[in-house]
C-alpha cells in the first residue's frame, strides 16, 4: 500500500453565495488548494469530486456539470456521494486513487450550493425517505434528529445545558476562522437554551446553518512528496467507512455503531489500539451540537454517555487535552454539506502542518482524526492523519 499525503488545501467563504455558480465555487477552492501545494493543474493525474444531493444545486448529474470548475476536463474524473458523509469520504476516494498506484497526484474538490434550493434546502429532505414506510408520515430531518437527541439524552441522563456547551465552544472557536458564517464570540449557554424550539429538544442554536461553499485538498504519493521536497504535508494513515441499514426505525439510535465500525477500520489501518492516548485532536461531524458528543463516543474517544462531561470539564476546548472542532466546526463555520471537507480534512491538514493561524492548537499535535456522517443517520466515514 503506497503512502499518501495531503499536501494542500483550500476553501471558499461559507455563505449564501447567489452570485457564484457551482463551477465558480469549485474553481475557487481548487485553485486555492493547488496554490497551497505549489502545483498546477498539469501536475494533477486525476480529479475526484464530492457533492451531496443534486437537488440542492438543482442540476441532474451535477458532478458532470461542475467538473470543469474542479479541473476535471480531459482527466480521469469521478464523483462520490455518501450523503453528509461525502465531506470526508471524497478524501478516502482520493486516497485509493493514489494508494492503488493509478495516480500520483489527485485533486479532491467538494462543492455544495444549497441556496438555489427553494423555498428552503430542507425541502430536498422531503425526498430522502422510504416512499412507502416513511414518506406518508411527512417527516423532516429535524424531527428525526430530535428523536435521536432525545434518545441520547434520556438513556444517559444528559442535560440540555451540557449539549449547548458544544454550540458555544464551536461558535466561539469559529471566530478565528476566516470562512466562518455563524461565529459568535459572545454566545452563552443561556442564548442556546433560550433560542426558538424547532422540534424538542432541538432548538435553533443547536443546528448548523445551510451554506454555499466549496473546499479542496491535494493528495500525493510519498514519491511525489520526496521528489518535490514538499514540507507541508500530513500523511493519511487510516481510512474507514461503514453504512448501517436503511431501516433507521429498527435500531437503537443511542449509539452510532456505524461510526464505531468505521473508526475501528481506520484505527486498525493506522495501528492505533488506544485511540484516547494516541489521538491528539478530533474534527468530528457536528451539524447539530449533540452530534459532536455522539460522534466522539462513536470514535471511541469517550465512554458511552461520557462525552458531555469531557465538554463540561474543558477537555475539548482548543487548549484542552483533546481539542475537538478547533476549526469551529459546522456549528460555527457553516454546513455546506460536502464542502465541510474544508473544516474537517482541511483543518487536520492545517493543524498538523502548523498553518492554522489563530486557530492553531497551542500544544504540539501529531495525530488527528476526522469523521463525517450522512444518509439516514446511517453513514460514518473516518480519516486519521499524522504529521
Amino acid at each position: 500500500m503506497r503512502k499518501v499525503a495531503v499536501i494542500g488545501a483550500g476553501m471558499t467563504l461559507f455563505r449564501r453565495r447567489l452570485q457564484e455558480t457551482p463551477k465558480e465555487l469549485c474553481y475557487e477552492a481548487a485553485r486555492g488548494a493547488l496554490d497551497s501545494a505549489g502545483l498546477d493543474l498539469a501536475d494533477v493525474d486525476a480529479v475526484v469530486s464530492g457533492s451531496a444531493p443534486d437537488a440542492f444545486d438543482g442540476v441532474h448529474m451535477k458532478g458532470e456539470y461542475f467538473l470543469d470548475g474542479c479541473g476535471g476536463t480531459r482527466k480521469p474524473y469521478m464523483r462520490v456521494f455518501t450523503g453528509g458523509g461525502t465531506g470526508v469520504f471524497s478524501t478516502i476516494a482520493g486516497w485509493w486513487h493514489v494508494a492503488s498506484g493509478l495516480a500520483d497526484v489527485v485533486l479532491v474538490v467538494n462543492e455544495e450550493k444549497m441556496s438555489s434550493c427553494q423555498p428552503h434546502p430542507q425541502s430536498v429532505f422531503a425526498h430522502i425517505w422510504d416512499p412507502i414506510l416513511d414518506r406518508p408520515l411527512q417527516p423532516n430531518l429535524i424531527w428525526i434528529f430530535a428523536m435521536e437527541m432525545n434518545r441520547y439524552m434520556t438513556v444517559h441522563g444528559i442535560k440540555k445545558e451540557d449539549i449547548a456547551r458544544v454550540a458555544v465552544k464551536n461558535k466561539r472557536n469559529a471566530v478565528d476562522h476566516p470562512c466562518a458564517q455563524l461565529a459568535d464570540p459572545h454566545i452563552t449557554v443561556d442564548d442556546v437554551l433560550k433560542s426558538e424550539v424547532m422540534a424538542w429538544p432541538v432548538q435553533r442554536l443547536d443546528i448548523s446553518p445551510p451554506s454555499d461553499g466549496a473546499a479542496a485538498v491535494v493528495l500525493a504519493s510519498e514519491d511525489v512528496v520526496r521528489r518535490r521536497r514538499i514540507k507541508d504535508r500530513a500523511w493519511i494513515s487510516g481510512v474507514g467507512w461503514c453504512i448501517d441499514s436503511t431501516m433507521w426505525t429498527d435500531r437503537d439510535l443511542v449509539f452510532p455503531e456505524y461510526v464505531a465500525r468505521a473508526a475501528q477500520m481506520a484505527y486498525k489501518m493506522a495501528k492505533i489500539d488506544r485511540p484516547r492516548k494516541q489521538i491528539d485532536f478530533a474534527e468530528p461531524y457536528d451539524p447539530f451540537d449533540y452530534k459532536e458528543l455522539h460522534h466522539l463516543e462513536g470514535l471511541l474517544l469517550a465512554d458511552k454517555g461520557g462525552a458531555p462531561k469531557l465538554t463540561r470539564d474543558g477537555v475539548t476546548e482548543r487548549d484542552g487535552d483533546l481539542p475537538v472542532c478547533p476549526s469551529g466546526g459546522l456549528m460555527g463555520v457553516g454546513n455546506p454539506i460536502a464542502a465541510t471537507m474544508g473544516i474537517k480534512v482541511g483543518e487536520l491538514f492545517w493543524q498538523l502542518t502548523g498553518q492554522a493561524g489563530k486557530r492553531q492548537i497551542p500544544h504540539e499535535v501529531r495525530t488527528g482524526v476526522t469523521q463525517a456522517w450522512g444518509d439516514l443517520m446511517q453513514y460514518g466515514c473516518v480519516v486519521v492523519m499524522r504529521a
Binding site: P53, H60, T73, F81, G101, I243
Partner: protein, 376 residues
C-alpha cells in the same frame, strides 16, 4: 456476475428487489457470502434517476452490505468497476462488489430529468430536449468523417439482430429497409430507430484479488486495464465529433493492459451504442477502427458476429435497451459471458480478450473503458 431484469418494464419488482436478484445471482456465481467474504460494496447511481434526495441510503440491505464499507459513485457501472479495482489494489480488501441498475420504468418524467442535466444558465433555457445534444453531435460526427446514413442503418440492423440471440435482450428484431425508411426523424439526423429505448435492469459484479480468486476456486476473467476520463462539460467547448473522453479512457486502459495494437489483439468489443452513431464514433475513438473508417467497416460487415471484430454481439443498447448507469457494467457482463464461453448461439469462437466501453449518456462527455481477458 449477476444480471436481472432487462425488460422495458418490471412492474412486479421494486428497484430493491431487482438489486437483490442480481446480487444473489452474482454471489452464487462467485461462490461468496456477502456478509463473510466481501470487503467493500460500490453502487453506481444518480439521485434524479432514482427519485430520491440521497439514494445512497437505500443501498445496503438488499446487497447484504449492512454495517459494511459501502459507497455510491455517481457514475456509470464501469466507474464503479474502476473503483473496486483501485480499492483492491490498495490491499485494503480482497473482494469487492459493484452494483448498477436502471428502474427507468418508474420515472414518470424521464425527459424532464435528462433536460435537468443541461447547464442551467447557458443551455437549459434554450428549451431543447436533452437528445438535441446527441443530434448535434451525430451531425458533427457524420460530417467530419463523411460517414453515410447507410452506416447507421448497418449498426441498427446488426445490433437489433444480434439481440435476437441474447435471452437478456428485450429489443431484438429483424430490421429491414422498410422499417428504416418508415422510421420518423427525431433529432436530425437521428431517427427513432437510431435511439435506444429505456429498459429496467440490474447488474452486479464480484471483483477479487488474485489470491482471493484462487481461494474461492473461481474461474476468473481478469481486469487487464481500466481507464476513465471526461471531456469538457460545456457543449460549446468539447470535441463534438471525436469522443475525446473515450480516447483518453482507452489510452489509460490499454497502457495498463500493455495492449499495443488493440485493433488486432482484441477479440470482441462491447461499446456504447445508445445512439447508433455512438458505436462508430466510439470504435474510432478507442482505436478499434481507423479514424473515419468505422462507417465503411460497418457497412462491410466487419463488426458482425462472424466479422473481423465482433462488436456488440449482445445486441448493445439498441438491442438490450438503455439501462442508464448500468450500461457499462452490463457490457462487462456480456464480455465476461463471451470470455467464459457461455454466450450460447451468440458465442464468438475462441474469444480471449475483450473490451467494454461506456459513456454516461446525454449531455455528458464522460466515459470509461475496461480491458478484460482470460488466461494467465
Amino acid at each position: 456476475m449477476g444480471v436481472a431484469g432487462f425488460r422495458p418494464a418490471t412492474p412486479e419488482y421494486s428497484w430493491k428487489e431487482l438489486m437483490f436478484e442480481a446480487a444473489s445471482r452474482a454471489y452464487a456465481d462467485a461462490g461468496v457470502d456477502p456478509r463473510e467474504d466481501v470487503g467493500s460494496f460500490v453502487t453506481c447511481a444518480e439521485d434524479y434517476y432514482e427519485g430520491f434526495g440521497i439514494f445512497d441510503e437505500f443501498v445496503p440491505d438488499q446487497l447484504g452490505a449492512v454495517l459494511r464499507p459501502t459507497c455510491t459513485v455517481s457514475g456509470d457501472g464501469l466507474h464503479g468497476l474502476a473503483t473496486a479495482f483501485m480499492q483492491i489494489r490498495t490491499g485494503l480488501f480482497d473482494v469487492a462488489v459493484v452494483e448498477a441498475h436502471s428502474k427507468a420504468s418508474d420515472v414518470v418524467t424521464l425527459d424532464g430529468v435528462m433536460e435537468h442535466a443541461l447547464d442551467p444558465i447557458w443551455t437549459k433555457p434554450l428549451g431543447g430536449h436533452a437528445f438535441v445534444t446527441a443530434g448535434l453531435e451525430a451531425d458533427a460526427y457524420l460530417r467530419a468523417t463523411r460517414t453515410s446514413r447507410k452506416a447507421l442503418d448497418a449498426v441498427i440492423v446488426k445490433n437489433r439482430g444480434n439481440a435476437l440471440l441474447n435471452p437478456h435482450a428485450p429489443y431484438g428484431a429483424r430490421i429491414d429497409a422498410r422499417h428504416l425508411d418508415a422510421s420518423e426523424e427525431r433529432f436530425r439526423p437521428l431517427r427513432a430507430l437510431d435511439i435506444s429505448a429505456p429498459a429496467d435492469g440490474c447488474v452486479v459484479a464480484v471483483v477479487a484479488s488474485d489470491a482471493a480468486s484462487r481461494r474461492l476456486n473461481a474461474e476468473p476473467v481478469w481486469i487487464r486495464g481500466v481507464g476513465w476520463a471526461s471531456d469538457s462539460p460545456t457543449l460549446e467547448t468539447r470535441d463534438l465529433a471525436g469522443a475525446t473522453y473515450a480516447r483518453l479512457a482507452a489510452e489509460r486502459a490499454y497502457r495498463q493492459a500493455k495492449l499495443r495494437s488493440p485493433a488486432t489483439e482484441v477479440d470482441l468489443a462491447e461499446v456504447d451504442d445508445r445512439f447508433s452513431y455512438k458505436e462508430l464514433q466510439h470504435l474510432e475513438a478507442i482505436g478499434l477502427a481507423k479514424a473515419g473508417q468505422a462507417g465503411t467497416q460497418a457497412v462491410k460487415g466487419d463488426f458482425s458476429i462472424d466479422g473481423r471484430l465482433p462488436v456488440n454481439v449482445s445486441g448493445g443498447s439498441l438491442g438490450c435497451g438503455n439501462v442508464f448507469e448500468a450500461t457499462g457494467l452490463h457490457r462487462v457482463a456480456e464480455v465476461v459471458k463471451q470470455l467464459r464461453g457461455d454466450a450460447g448461439r451468440g458465442q464468438v469462437d475462441g474469444a480471449k480478450m475483450g473490451v467494454a466501453q461506456s459513456w454516461r449518456f446525454v449531455p455528458t462527455a464522460t466515459g470509461a473503458v475496461a480491458v478484460l481477458g482470460v488466461g494467465r
